[in-house]
């Protein structure tokens, strides 16, 4: 069973969001997503300063099995990216909710956070996918 931390919000496309409380959020992909993808070999991150839409393609993660888009769960501007992933994409496999974070967004519409799932709802999604 995948790890689904309670304090985070989740998107159906398997991104997690942590509200930093200062109008910004940190985004990554869930433990479940990294398990599905397998060993990651490459991460393509957005540019700092780029504007993103909720649900818009923001990054690409590439594993030995597939290359997948990562969608931004909220709209806003990218204010930081985890450059360390360029050399060590496997960090996402090892610590998806911590050192494996991907980018931070200054939200333009903070209310979009309320539309995301909590841990319980996301757990239901994963379980329904597994059955």
């Amino acid at each position: 069973m995948s790890n689904v931390p309670n304090e985070l919000k989740y998107a159906k496309s398997h991104e997690w969001v942590r509200n930093e409380g200062d109008g910004s959020v940190t985004v990554g992909i869930s433990d479940h997503a990294q398990e599905l993808l397998g060993d990651l070999v490459f991460v393509e991150l957005p540019e700092v300063g780029a504007k993103v839409d909720a649900g818009g393609e923001s990054a690409v993660v590439e594993s030995v099995k597939a290359a997948s888009d990562v969608y931004s769960p909220v709209a806003g501007q990218v204010v930081a990216v985890n450059q360390a992933l360029a050399d060590t994409p496997e960090t996402i496999n090892q610590d998806p909710f911590g050192e494996g974070w991907m980018f931070k967004i200054e939200m333009s519409t903070p209310s979009q956070l309320d539309e995301l799932m909590d841990a319980a709802a996301y757990t239901d999604i994963i379980e329904s996918e597994e059955h």
């Binding site: 070999v41 490459f42 690409v60 590439e62 597939a66 290359a67 888009d69």
Partner: protein
């Protein structure tokens, strides 16, 4: 690996399984008006003997002219072993198989090809080929625009000294993708891109600069200065190169301070016959940092569980069967058979052999230039060094002159009138290593006679002292 089509019985079983009477029924949903129906103009079948005779007749109509045309495709000697080996059944499929690891021989060949190309270009990585030089340049432009995300302009500088057909193909492929191609004029004296001509663009947002070496006129460009200019202006440097010339010229990976970012070109000089224009193949190499944006695949050498050497697809994640709409290219089908020939050709010649061919081409062209320059009214154009081609201005119309020479079994050069009308009556002439002294003397004699007839006597030009 054999590719065996289905038997009649298997087809019948499949149709029965899905409950369909005939294959034709599967196309029912296409409106009849959209179906082409029977082909009406296809002649009745010929026997193998008849086809052989017909093709023999057609080939004789082409004659066996002596070729002094280059302009992107070159009449080089190809050792007999190249196509003897290339056409072996094991190689004789144009496609890299999708179950790639089952075809270790194909993978080893591509691995060796990629190793040779990176050695020749001094770049970090090579893909497994593209359709031709022109589409390879278009892919290089798209790749540069994808990679250079700091540049917002999507403006690419492309000199008029780049092959005109390449420029047309690049335009066709990128014009609807929000990419602006800016043509750079060449220096009328040198026939090259004077780095000083780039000054108006300094400090502007330029995504990439295309650098031909040699350029379409055969002229060598100042590749170091152009590459450094590109990098100083945060643009990528894209080299369009003749692979044979790289055996004697500085390879793109060593241009300027940092080297070119991408290089591409036409692979035909490496073992592909002229064949009326194809099939040829395009090649593409790049710096390691750009590898995720390069269309195609990379083969790696590794060890299997038993410690034996094996080959595998090391990078293919951005190909169309994996990334679909996000693929780096949807025309990255490679020219596997041409690549096979090129790999065998390069292996047979080696770096020393390639350099000797290149030097022989250069020497022959220099000898031809000396001969043709002696003819009244025939003037070599552009004063910069050339590789194995040279532009000549003529005292008579180029097209009728070339027709007359063809009647004498000589293909005397490429008419530049359509693409470079500002040059007046001018032709681009090439002498590869295959051209003998006898052939070059005969060409000069015939050229002089044809000009004499077409210009009419008396000649209005001053006689030359020679």
């Amino acid at each position: 690996m054999p590719f065996i089509p289905h038997t009649e019985q298997e087809i019948r079983e499949m149709l029965d399984t899905i409950g369909v009477n005939a294959i034709e029924d599967l196309f029912d949903e296409i409106p009849p008006g959209l179906r082409c129906g029977e082909l009406e103009r296809v002649p009745p079948a010929l026997s193998e003997m008849e086809v052989g005779q017909l093709m023999g007749r057609r080939a004789r109509e082409d004659g066996q002219p002596v070729c002094f045309i280059g302009a992107g495709a070159y009449d080089h000697h190809i050792p007999a072993a190249v196509w003897q080996l290339t056409t072996r059944g094991e190689f004789y499929s144009a496609y890299t198989p999708y179950q790639a690891e089952a075809s270790q021989g194909t993978l080893q060949l591509v691995y060796e090809y990629q190793s040779m190309m990176t050695a020749l270009t001094a770049m970090d990585v090579s893909n497994a080929s593209l359709y031709d030089g022109a589409s390879a340049l278009a892919e290089a432009v798209l790749m540069a625009v994808r990679f250079n995300r700091k540049s917002k302009s999507r403006r690419v500088l492309i000199p008029r000294s780049v092959h005109p057909a390449y420029r047309r193909v690049v335009h066709n492929i990128v014009r609807n993708q929000g990419i602006e191609l800016v043509e750079l004029a060449y220096d009328p004296v040198g026939g090259h891109i004077d780095p000083a001509l780039l000054e108006p663009y300094s400090g502007q947002d330029i995504t990439a600069l295309v650098i031909p070496q040699p350029n379409f006129f055969g002229v060598l460009e100042e590749v170091d200065a152009l590459t450094d200019w590109a990098h100083a202006n945060k643009a990528l440097a894209i080299g369009v190169v003749n692979p044979l010339a790289l055996s004697v010229l500085t390879p793109p990976g060593e241009w300027g301070e940092q080297g070119a970012d991408i290089c591409c070109g036409e692979g035909q000089p490496l073992g592909a016959p002229l064949s009326s224009g194809g099939p040829y193949f395009g090649f593409m190499c790049c710096r390691r940092a750009l590898v995720r944006q390069m269309p195609g695949r990379i083969i790696g050498r590794t060890l299997d569980l038993d410690g034996k050497t094996g080959y595998s697809l090391t990078l293919q994640a951005r190909e169309q069967h994996i990334r679909r709409s996000k693929a780096t290219s949807n025309i990255c089908t490679n020219q596997g058979l041409m690549v096979t020939a090129a790999t065998i050709h390069m292996a047979l010649l080696g770096s020393e052999g390639l350099a000797r061919v290149a030097a022989a081409c250069h020497a022959n062209t220099a000898g031809l230039v000396a001969r043709l320059s002696c003819i009244e009214g025939v003037e070599p154009l552009f004063d910069r060094p050339v590789f194995h081609e040279r532009v000549f201005c003529l005292p008579v119309a180029a097209n009728s002159l070339l027709r007359s020479l063809a009647a004498h079994n000589v293909l005397g050069g490429f008419d530049l009138a359509r693409d470079y009308p500002e040059l007046g009556s001018a032709i681009l002439v090439c002498a590869t290593e295959k051209r003998s002294d006898e052939e070059m003397n005969a060409f000069a004699d015939k050229l002089e006679r044809v000009i004499g007839m077409q210009a009419g006597a008396p000649c209005q030009l001053q006689p030359k002292d020679w």
